[in-house]
Amino acid sequence: MTLISSPASGPAVSARVSEIVAANAGREGPLLPILHEIQQEFGHVPEDAVQVIAEGLNLGRAEVHGVISFYHDFRKLPAGRHVLKICRAEACQSMGSEALGERARAKLGLDWGETSADGRVTLEPIFCLGLCACAPAAMLDGELRARLDEASLDALLKEARA
């Protein structure tokens, strides 16, 4: 297994993307569901997918690119094996999330939005998880954590680096 994952490409990708596009093309406003499904499958939206989507939905490539880049969720490159998102919005700030964010950055040696060189972990900011009454909050690989303090953050970082 390689630690650093590279973007998916090639005929297999195009074939699978074609299937996803075909399955969704009849819906009203199919593009976001398609992009979500592709990202779910490949962990990112591969460059090779853009052409296939554009053709399938009768859109320009630039248009598809424009949509992908507009939304924070869609990745052009794969993320690390673990993705740690720390909430930086106001309610979490009121409970000290900025200091926890600093701590995470220092301990992981990463800035916001970066992936570690060994491909293990990506650190990202997120703006509200709806856990504002039990702040500060974070999400590790889709799993929620609340009322974080230094000790529980350290435990979380350990999981993230595993």
Partner: protein, 508 residues
């Protein structure tokens, strides 16, 4: 033994899954037959995970539950150190008027029979007997205003769509809930999804729309999951589909997931996103009510607006209207958040003072330090100082103090908060989330960050520049992202000038 333990995202984030596992293991060890219902949250987030034991005398609460405390719970529940007594006698619940959230935390969220047994579908059954104008009239008379932020009368919006010509119309539920300090949409979608479905069907009956979409932010995977399941269950049960509850009327709906863009909570940006486009804000007119999704007449309503419709139909407009103050009728789910001791969702009639909300209900700060400021209405809402704490909770009352109630989230800050930094954050957030359509927002917010930084370095003249910039953003922005970012900024500057003068003093 019958137990309830929330599967709400906040309960899970506070360890509910470990408690559930411990309960199952312990029951098995003791050979006890366990019925564990995963309900929604009752909103008392500070007590989550809140375990409830069903008894002939009612449900008894235990919380916040931990895996370690499970064994003693099985030994003798009554003597357990986390025992809180009967759930419905808890003062925090007893003080509320739970209309929209009446079932939330009580029933099994995905059990349609349980839903019906608790007054569910009563509103829809009545609506099916009514003509469109009468239905619209009922909602108008209730005084219900949009809970998404702008406070526009729901009945009037429905009337426009109802009377708009066109073979195809839509009901779009705005579940983008991006405001920090808010989680009412999340809690009801996870805890009582059929209320929202019922509200959307009624909206369809009132306007002639037969298709609905719920646009849920991607940060809410649990809500997406529960809502999607509820829609499937609703279809299988004949609640949704060609013949709603066996009637001649059709309504179906689908769950759609956002992709991490705050501005997509703005209704026209949301519609673009739903259509598969960049979430750029559209100029109005045309109103979405006339030319919305795919250019067709569309109701866009917040989750809570729609989820409140069933009780209005079930009990009548007058019943709902009798709660509240002034032009703020009915109840509002306050979301008490941030640095607060008893945080959570508290549904009550409009009119409580901020002091009652923060001090009595919220119990002051979690840190035990003095309250410095409360931001109301999300990242576009104003910071209120103690001096404004007597303001009654209502749309006009807040507007009168240079604020807004927005989606009714309240974020409490203690005396360590640096309001200059909060003003900077507001500008930074606006810069990052701007859809880019208008210059005062896109460029102005970036200038705003720079200007706050100049003030932080002790540049006195920059204060005037910041004020001018806020004026420009207010008057020259197409939507409230650019237009209302001045609220948090100016309220911080006006009410907490000392935080903007610190560097200046140091420089002199």
């Amino acid at each position: 033994m019958k137990l309830h333990l929330p599967a709400d995202a906040a309960a899970k984030a506070l360890g509910a899954e470990k408690v559930a596992a411990a309960l199952k293991a312990e029951a098995q060890k003791r050979g006890i037959a366990l019925e564990l219902i995963r309900n929604g949250s009752r909103g008392m987030i500070w007590l989550e995970p809140l375990l409830e034991l069903a008894t002939p005398q009612g449900r008894f609460a235990f919380g916040p539950m931990t895996p370690e405390a499970v064994s003693a719970f099985f030994d003798d529940p009554a003597a357990h150190p986390l025992a809180l007594g009967r759930t419905e006698d808890l003062p925090w619940l007893k003080r509320q008027t739970r209309l929209t959230f009446a079932r939330c935390g009580v029933i099994d969220p995905l059990d349609l029979a349980d839903y019906e047994a608790h007054e569910g579908l009563a509103g829809l059954r009545r609506a099916l007997e009514m003509e469109k104008p009468a239905l619209v009239q009922e909602v108008t008379e209730s005084g219900l205003r949009g809970r998404g932020g702008a406070g526009f009368p729901t009945g009037i919006k429905w009337k426009t769509v109802s009377e708009a010509p066109g073979p195809k119309k839509y009901i779009v539920c705005n579940a983008d809930e991006g405001d920090s300090g808010t989680f009412a949409d999340r809690i009801i979608m996870e805890g009582d999804p059929f209320t929202l479905i019922e509200g959307m069907i009624i909206a369809g009956l009132a306007t002639g729309a037969e298709q609905g979409y719920v646009y849920i932010r991607s940060e809410y995977p649990d809500a997406v999951n529960v809502m999607s399941k509820a829609v499937e269950i609703g279809r299988a049960a004949g609640l949704l589909g060609r013949s709603v509850l066996g009637s001649e009327r059709a309504f179906d709906m689908e769950v759609r997931v956002g992709a991490g863009a705050y501005v997509c909570g703005e209704e026209t940006s949301l519609l673009n996103s739903l259509e598969g486009k960049r979430g750029i804000v559209r100029a109005k007119p045309p109103l979405p009510a006339l030319q919305g999704f795919l250019g067709r007449p569309t109701v866009v309503n917040n989750v809570i607006s729609l989820a409140t419709v069933p009780i209005i139909l079930a009990r009548g407009a007058q019943f709902y209207k009798d709660f509240g103050i002034g032009r703020s009728r009915g109840t509002i789910p306050l979301q008490i958040a941030g640095n607060v001791r008893y945080g959570g969702l508290f549904e009550t009639a409009f009119g409580l003072s901020l002091r009652e909300i923060v001090e009595d209900i919220g119990g002051g700060t979690a840190s035990g330090r003095p309250v410095k400021a409360v931001q109301i209405g999300g990242p576009l809402g104003a910071y209120f100082p103690q001096a404004l704490f007597e303001t009654p909770f209502g749309y006009e009352e807040y507007a009168g103090q240079g604020g807004l109630i927005g989606h009714a989230g309240l974020v409490v800050f203690d005396d360590r908060a640096d309001m200059l930094q909060m003003a900077r954050f507001a500008m930074e957030f606006c810069a990052v989330e701007s859809c880019g359509k208008c210059t005062p927002c896109r460029i102005g917010a970036v200038r705003g960050v720079e200007t706050v930084d100049r003030i932080a370095r002790g540049d006195r003249r920059a204060v005037g520049i910041l004020k001018d910039l806020c004026e420009t953003m207010k008057s020259g922005s197409l939507c409230a992202l650019g237009g209302f970012t001045p609220y948090p900024v100016m309220s911080a500057l006006t009410h907490f000038p000392e935080d903007f003068a610190r560097a200046q003093e140091a420089a002199e």
